[in-house]
Symmetry: C2
Subunit: 337 residues, 2 copies
Amino acid sequence: MATMKTWNLKSRPVGAPTPDNWELAEDAIPVAGDGEYVAETLWLSIDPYMRGRMNDAKSYAQPVPIGGRMEGGTVGRVIESKTPDVPVGSHVLYSGGWSTHWKATAKGTQIVDENVVPLSAYVGMMGMPGMTAWAGLHNIGKPVAGETLVVAAATGPVGTMVGQIAKAKGLRVVGIAGGAEKCAFAVDELGFDACLDRNDPDMTAKLKEAVPNGIDIYWENVGGPIFQAVWPLMNPFSRMPVCGVISFYNATQAPTGRDWGPQIFRDILTKRILVRGFIVWDYQEQYSQFVNEFVPMIQEGRINVREDVSQGIESAPQSLIDVLNGDNFGKKVIKVA
Amino acid sequence: MATMKTWNLKSRPVGAPTPDNWELAEDAIPVAGDGEYVAETLWLSIDPYMRGRMNDAKSYAQPVPIGGRMEGGTVGRVIESKTPDVPVGSHVLYSGGWSTHWKATAKGTQIVDENVVPLSAYVGMMGMPGMTAWAGLHNIGKPVAGETLVVAAATGPVGTMVGQIAKAKGLRVVGIAGGAEKCAFAVDELGFDACLDRNDPDMTAKLKEAVPNGIDIYWENVGGPIFQAVWPLMNPFSRMPVCGVISFYNATQAPTGRDWGPQIFRDILTKRILVRGFIVWDYQEQYSQFVNEFVPMIQEGRINVREDVSQGIESAPQSLIDVLNGDNFGKKVIKVA
């Protein structure tokens, strides 16, 4: 009998997750009931937000229960169907989780077309990361030609999109990334104006040189020392979409030392800075607007995408650990089948 | 010969200002040149932002130079005029500074009418504090009936207006103020739903009880321990207009201990909180919209104003010191002539 492999959450991590926080279960492939379909997973997306789901803490989404399947965006092929909306053989986008198969109804399932973009792109530039970048800029960053944008994790899936959309809109784009190879990619392949190595001891001074007119948009997805280097360079009336704070995700307690709170609010006041957190699904109703703007940019070759592909569902835990350490280079996806 | 008294900045304070940071000069009353007028000051407004002008630091306004006249909003009566736009005998609103007289041109001078509101109100509810409250709510707070707003310094000039505008729009309003007398005033006279004493050791627990549905708008004008009590109660999609951080104005160095920065950004992200600093003059083009909405509220008796009046220009330094300590009760104004 054919079986399905699924990663379930075994224990909640304290600090950084370790492989023994998960356990790989093997079960029979499910059977579709009325109105349901079953898909085999072709691509599983691995993203930093998954760390948050492993905590038993109130957040914008429910945590994964102990023993429950890890969540994740997937593209799959339908292998059995009892719903006419999702026929056998079609390719579908769904939050199928860390598994070789999933069962669902048509609700929340989207048929995708591999002739528009490659299937893996539906969990990348056309999916959550691309929509995140577009929605955060469209609704909060509000880029204006001639302004300067800084984005950290610049070669990650969201940073890649943020920078390229901003370049297409006529901004000066400065990336921050981990290492010379990623920085070269950001400048040479993505067309960023500059990219700084976050491990460079002179990063703060070099950042200042790289933004001679200050920073109008800081795309926050990391926090920590990079934030502290960026913040004093923020211009009056600058905007800061808060999309992630990956450097804090594994933190077990609040740091001590200098309390940045007062300085942050003082600067927000005197510089009239806008800071706003968002989750991509807040703007779900704008998805077709995103597609209409974005697909032509892809088809004109203005969007360059790099994927970091791991093989097999077995690689999911280490892939997430790597992503949280910044060890991926490009959008992390797992080729499952 | 009649003379004019003026407070000039003598030295920049380190921490809290002391009376010897200023010096009272006595000079001849100025004479109007072509296109100028001279006014005697009737009312001088004393406001927390003046502390910032005493620093030699880049902010949203130039600092007062050493030896220069302290800035401040004034209402006066014109005693000499060589400009037809500002006739002798008219009442005018201007930034005349800490002085018994000023000389200016028509530019930036506004004729005011004591039949609409009392003259002192033009530096209060109809002036900078009233416009600040209205503009911050209109543009950032965006109150919706049924929501909950929390405002600290609740009986101060801005807090008073913020709370009353929010009540008029159908919100639950909870104030925080210094002492039982101010809290009684907020509830009994201003119509707030609740008011907490910021010196109450149980303030944090009582605040939680006072906002059973969480906080949708926190009007930030203080920072410090009140912010720390409020912040965990912020709702998803809540808004925080940052209007002032008075508890930091006298700070000489960043505090240490717990670093609130990471928690702030984490919450901004997961709760999608909007934080935005503003200065009233950012919205100057909305002044007539403010007047059109606000004057009817005043005339219908829906806006209650309390002034804390000191006598004579000599009282200006101590008045500012008191305001920075929260020792005023109501809008601090000085009756100069």
